[in-house]
Amino acid sequence: MADAEIIPLGTHGRPGRGTGKAPSSAARGLAGGTGGSRPVRKKKPAEESPVPAEESVVSAERASGDVPAVTTRERHPLRGIPAADWAAALDSAAKEVFGADWEPQLARFLAFLRRRLTGDYAVDDYGFDRELTERFFHALLRPVKEKWFRIDVRGIENIPTQGGALVVSNHSGTLPVDGLMTMVTIHDHTGRDLRPLGADLVFKMPFVGMLARKGGATLACNEDAERMLCGGELVGVWPEGFKGIGKPYSERYKLQRFGRGGFVSAALRTGVPIIPLSVVGAEEIYPLVGNVPALAKVLGLPYLPITPFFPLLGPLGMIPLPSKWLMEFGEPIRTDTYDAGAAEDPMLVFNVTDQVRETIQQTLYSLLMQRQSVFR
């Protein structure tokens, strides 16, 4: 075999077309000067320069001082990159992220982005932003539901696929995490949006109130409850309220008083079924071992929790304990069999309230019996 002939390629870092003597016209053009390259050659011959071509020319020109220099400083880091390059980068990134089906995915994402930026999306009467909730809130909460609390759901078939219904649940856990988890669980299993009813304090707090409305909540009052139920929404109430959520750890799984039964009269007036929901596991996420009533009063809060880790560990103490959750939806309690004036009969309202409360309490006990341990 004959020796391979070596064909020189490139300029080996020297300006010009491989002669190594004079910078080519292209290189001079890059340098930005017209006649400036002549003195350069005299002062600093290219053969001696170990640095790459363009830079050497530029530094030489700066040294000579008579030619306007092109420096990296004159370029804005972002302005220099044309939008076409951004588009190309996005293009390849899209292929990377969305896979083969990237084009419609990207198109949908850009359309979504445009809608959000131009405000061209709809909110309903209560300020519910469905798009934001499903794309953002649920996406954030879903991993918590599946990986952290590992929620076990039973009796989901008791939730009607359409029409108004009232989900009544026990409330626990110092912060209303159980409400958020119930929302995302119901949405994932049935595709329906649970519309929670919140205390007026929720809507007084900045950010909390705003996010609650965007997430579909509204004030727990008869007007709103009946309006939502008439509109065929799936409404969620936690009748224990702050008494339930802020009860000490020693009283866990003991249902508190069920408000004044306002939720029952709303269901009776609209004739929608009541679905009792029992949640086990939420009691253990932030075990409330102490309370500072005086400070809570100053801050205008119903209670100021002290848990084994909060405020001891600061923000770390706000991470909920990874308890295992069980959620059981009970048989719907029908309210359309009562007379028209049933909602005005306090005795009947109390009876139905007790019936719902007892159902939830009994289910809580049986779920607790089935649970192996708090965290498993």
């Binding site: 939008a83 951004w86 293009d91 930026l117 709809a122 309903d124 009467d125 300020g127 900045p206 709103d224």
Partner: protein, 367 residues
């Protein structure tokens, strides 16, 4: 629609309009004067109107003194349209004067109407501000609901008082058809109101951590509603607002205006600065509205009054936005630029996505 036996006949009506020195009153009176069913329009105010008054005849009178009774009797007025309820003390010289004009003026006007047998109909422009705005509000106020907190002063208190006097008048003169229109915030290219001034600011100050829901009524729909109320003669109180709701963040994005969120206490402070600079005026009612927002149910307006606004809330805002120069919208510009450089196939996809999944914002009917 309830036909009344003593319903005023369409032809040759004599309409008295109060508050014609301000734009809303003047424009309505002018339009009413051109209406074929109207014989004469008499505009009343303490100061002469600034613009073209058309065929309206202007009487310079103060509704706070009994002269107004003579005007009604002499001109044989059968329809009274009360529009002179003012929202801000700004131009009138203090809160005392504003209360005087609003409450005492209405009392005198109603007293004059009560003694005038010729009066057959009274239309009062009220406002949804009577419902207040707080964290305890239901999502949608119906006409039967009361404000959750009794207004302690200012415009809301004035309007509550005025409505109480109007109800009293309706009881004492059952033969007069009394219609009260509780109008949502009126917006339009020419409208000059505290809220319009607020939305014309750039950047728009907002209350940190709150995103109030808002409803708007187009200026033309306000005139339409007043005209409809006179023509239909349905007694009662009605909420009047465009379809749908927008949150303030949506409003700012649609106006392409940047916002500057301020904590609640700072928002109250900046109100004073802006008032001194004559840029905007924040009454306590407007402040609470910009914090908690408000929604009103308009099903009675549709079903009983039989009025349908031509502009939805979003369309009203778009019409208002057409007169503003956008000062923000940089993010949208970037998005435009980006989309222009996408490959052609992606752009076609984008077009189909946008055409297919256009959100139903303008069409949706809200009760």
């Amino acid at each position: 629609m309830a036909e009344r036996a003593d319903r005023p006949t369409g032809a040759g009506r004599v309409v008295l309009v109060t508050g014609v020195s301000r734009d809303v009153g003047r424009r309505f009176a002018r339009a009413a004067a051109d209406h074929p069913a109207v014989e004469r329009v008499i505009g009343v105010d303490v100061v002469p109107p600034r613009g073209d008054i058309g065929r309206m005849s202007f009487v310079r009178a103060d509704i706070r003194n009994p002269v107004i009774a003579k005007v009604i009797a002499k001109e044989d007025v059968d329809t009274v349209v009360h529009l002179s309820v003012i929202a801000t003390p700004g131009s009138t010289g203090g809160r005392t004067m504003m209360k005087e004009l609003n409450v005492i003026g209405t009392m005198q006007l109603l007293a004059a109407c009560q003694t005038a047998p010729s009066v057959r109909q009274l239309v009062v422009k009220s406002t949804t501000t009577v419902y207040g705005a707080s964290n305890r509000d239901p999502a949608m106020f119906t006409e039967a609901m009361e404000p959750r907190r009794t207004p302690y002063g200012g415009y809301a208190k004035d309007v509550a008082d005025i409505e109480a006097y109007v109800r009293g008048f309706a009881r004492r003169r059952p033969d007069v058809c009394v219609t009260t229109l509780r109008c949502a915030n009126v917006l339009g290219p020419r409208v000059d109101s505290p809220l319009a001034a607020h939305l014309r600011l750039s950047p728009i100050p907002t209350v940190l951590g709150f995103d109030p829901r808002m409803q708007f009524l187009h200026e033309r729909d306000l005139y339409g509603a007043l005209e409809h109320a006179i023509r239909a003669a349905v007694p009662g109180t009605f909420n009047v607002a465009g379809d749908g709701l927008l949150t303030l963040s949506q409003v700012a994005r649609r106006l392409q205006r940047p916002t500057v969120p301020l904590p609640g206490f700072a928002f109250a402070g900046i109100g004073g600065v802006l008032r001194r600079a004559r840029l905007a005026e924040y009454t306590p009612e407007l402040r609470s509205f910009l914090t908690y927002g408000r929604g009103v149910d308009t099903s009675r307006m549709r079903d009983e009054l039989g009025f349908t606004p031509t502009y939805s809330t979003a369309e009203t805002l778009d019409d208002f936005a057409s007169t503003l120069t956008p000062t923000g919208g940089r993010a949208v510009g970037l998005l435009d630029e980006l989309e222009r450089h996408l490959p052609a196939s992606t752009r076609t996809q984008l077009k189909t996505v946008r055409a297919g999944a256009a959100p139903a914002l303008s069409g949706g009917r809200h009760g």
